[in-house]
């Protein structure tokens, strides 16, 4: 390997690592707040990219039907619950949020020349379609069993993952797609050339990470999420609803996932099931951080990115094996250095 290739691989590793880092942060967030190991995190990557591709083809994405259906289910459940508790005053908000907003979005999408929109608008619309899936999935799949043991939540995660993969095939077909780069062209930088899209990925990942840091460090809602992660009873006693915290963390996870997919789809062909592997690599990073530490998880995810790109050069057939084998020494090291406390709170 000469310097040129090393640089190229490094650039590849950094780009992928940045995406894995975003996903790792989302996984740590969701686990810390809800104790859910969010296997379907990667599906948001694929859904985000493929929804954007569908919009750019000028068609209505099938994910729109999904949020209409899930929204109706959430409205029915929440509405019935509110009526049972004699809290009819909550009905207008429930209906507006879960029925009116998706319907309005449908109307907006159906009446717009989607293919002709500028990229920024298409990206925002794709996010508007995909991100609500996060809180809706939380409401339907996890909220009813929010106090269940971690293992049961994990089993539900596997189920949600399988369902979303199946729906992905149904919605988008087996063909992969790429979306156009945010800006075309390359940048000569000394010995190496960088695609502008690579720079976009690095810059936006960095901005998102800083924004998350500011959200958790400065805003009261971010602090409330941290508080829920630290002490659920204490948080409830402050009026911080565990349901609100769960939905908020799933919203952030969905946003991060979908945005990651939109970022990488100009440089990688994404299929309906590509997200799973990408999400798992983020998960390896999250495991390195013990599903608890945000900076270590992000650093671990970067390491995964580099390891993957250099091993694809030396032993490309074993690329995935090498990346996922990383988890074994990490788990060994963690089990030896951290004293294990029995599950639950």
């Amino acid at each position: 390997m000469d310097f040129q290739i090393a640089l190229l691989l490094g650039q590849d590793g950094l780009t992928n690592g940045a995406i894995y880092a975003l996903l790792a942060l989302a996984l740590v967030l969701v686990f810390a707040v809800t104790r859910v190991i969010f296997i379907p995190q990667g599906e948001f990557v694929a859904y985000g990219a493929l929804t954007l591709a569908t919009l750019q083809a000028g068609q209505l994405p099938a994910t729109l039907w999904l949020i209409l259906a899930l929204g109706a289910a959430v409205a029915a459940l929440d509405g019935a619950q509110a009526l049972r508790h004699g809290a009819a005053r909550k009905l207008p908000r429930i209906l507006a949020l879960n029925l009116a907003v998706p319907l309005a979005l449908w109307f907006l999408l159906a009446s717009t020349d989607l293919a002709g929109l500028p990229l920024v608008a298409q990206v925002l619309l794709a996010l508007a379609v995909v991100v609500p899936l996060g809180p809706m999935i939380y409401r339907l799949a996890y909220q009813p069993i929010a106090e269940a043991p971690v293992l049961i939540l994990l089993i539900v995660s596997v189920a949600v993952h399988v369902v979303l993969i199946g729906l992905g095939l149904l919605f988008f077909g087996a063909e992969g797609t790429r979306t156009p780069a945010f800006s075309e062209g390359t940048l000569e930088l000394g010995a190496t050339t960088l695609q502008y899209q690579t720079l976009w990925i690095l810059a936006i990942s960095a901005i998102l990470i800083v924004a998350l840091y500011a959200f958790f460090g400065r805003s009261i809602y971010g602090k409330a999420l941290r508080a829920t992660a630290l002490n659920r009873t204490g948080a409830r006693l402050m009026g911080i609803s565990t349901t609100m915290a769960g939905k908020l963390s799933f919203t952030l996870a969905a946003l991060i996932g979908a945005f990651s997919g939109i970022l990488i789809s100009p440089i990688t062909t994404l299929y309906y099931d590509s997200g799973f592997l990408i999400g798992l690599k983020g998960f390896v990073g999250a495991i390195i951080g013990g599903l608890a530490s945000y900076p270590v998880a992000a650093a671990g995810a970067l390491l995964v990115g580099f390891l993957e790109s250099y091993s694809s050069f030396y032993a490309s057939a074993f690329k995935e094996v090498i990346v996922f084998t990383l988890i074994i020494p990490v788990l060994l090291w963690r089990s030896l250095t951290t004293h294990h406390s029995e599950e639950d709170e």
């Binding site: 508790h85 941290r226 508080a227 630290l230 002490n231 009873t233 204490g234 006693l237 009026g239 609803s241």
Partner: protein, 246 residues
């Protein structure tokens, strides 16, 4: 005293853990601006009573709050919005967060409802507990036991409660700190906060309270104005006798 309007009233309140009844037909009245104490031995159901009033445990019977029924369907978070707060025995602080952030989160529900006057409340809380201001940037986990109790109370006051429920605030604290905590409880009455104080330290509790209940094996065995309770031979024998600190 009894002319004051009733803030919270429980009638025939029972709570069970599975088949075991921890609280049996308890009646309790708290009036506005009053300090009410519940004393009794370990395991009498005092913490269960507070948990039920806060909505952490479902109960049977009637609870009304400012004249409206407060059923089991009122979640903890909603009760906070109605002006009920609980400082639990275990404090339940956010150990890895700073003292200032812990206090800020005490006002989370007010912030959510658009009430931005919590900054003034923060100044008041710092006025009551100057120690917390000195420790504002420290993480809650590094505080001493007394400071933790102050933080737990300060955090609860940030919600501007109508009714503050304190579960064993003196537990595990040095006598000097205990005196300070009880002095603060007495001050809360002047601020218009009603207090439901659960204590094993019966002597100190009856000194500060207006009215008291004795809870034994899940039932109210005695009740009355605290001055009377403090002179009741049964209370003296069981709770105030020599070394009767329990």
């Amino acid at each position: 005293m009894s002319m004051r309007p009733v803030l919270l009233e429980a009638k025939d309140l029972s709570v069970s853990y599975g088949k075991v009844e921890a609280l049996h037909k308890v009646g309790l009245t708290i009036r506005e601006g009053e300090i009410v104490t519940v004393i009794g031995p370990n395991g009498a159901g005092k913490t269960t009573l507070l948990s039920c009033l806060m909505g952490l445990l479902p109960g049977r019977g009637e609870v009304s709050y400012v004249g409206r029924p407060l059923g089991n369907d009122f979640e903890v978070e909603e009760r906070v919005g109605l002006g009920l707060t609980l400082v639990p025995e275990k404090r339940e602080l956010f150990a890895d967060m700073s003292v200032a952030d812990n206090l800020l989160l005490g006002a989370f529900d007010r912030y959510r409802r658009g009430d931005r006057a919590y900054r003034e409340t923060l100044a008041e809380v710092y006025g009551i507990f100057p120690r917390l201001r000195e420790r504002a940037e420290q993480t809650a986990g590094t505080l001493s036991g007394g400071e933790r109790q102050m933080l737990a109370m300060g955090r609860a006051l940030m919600a501007k409660p109508k009714l503050l429920m304190l579960d064993e605030p003196s537990l595990g604290l040095a006598p000097l700190i205990i005196r300070e905590i009880f002095r603060t409880v007495a001050r809360l009455r002047e601020m218009g906060v009603s207090v439901l104080l659960v204590e094993q330290n019966a002597r100190a509790a009856l000194q500060v309270a207006d009215y008291g209940y004795v809870l034994e094996t899940g039932e109210v065995s005695l009740e009355g104005p605290s001055a009377e309770l403090a002179n009741d031979p049964r209370v003296i024998e069981a709770y105030l006798g020599l070394g009767g600190k329990h």
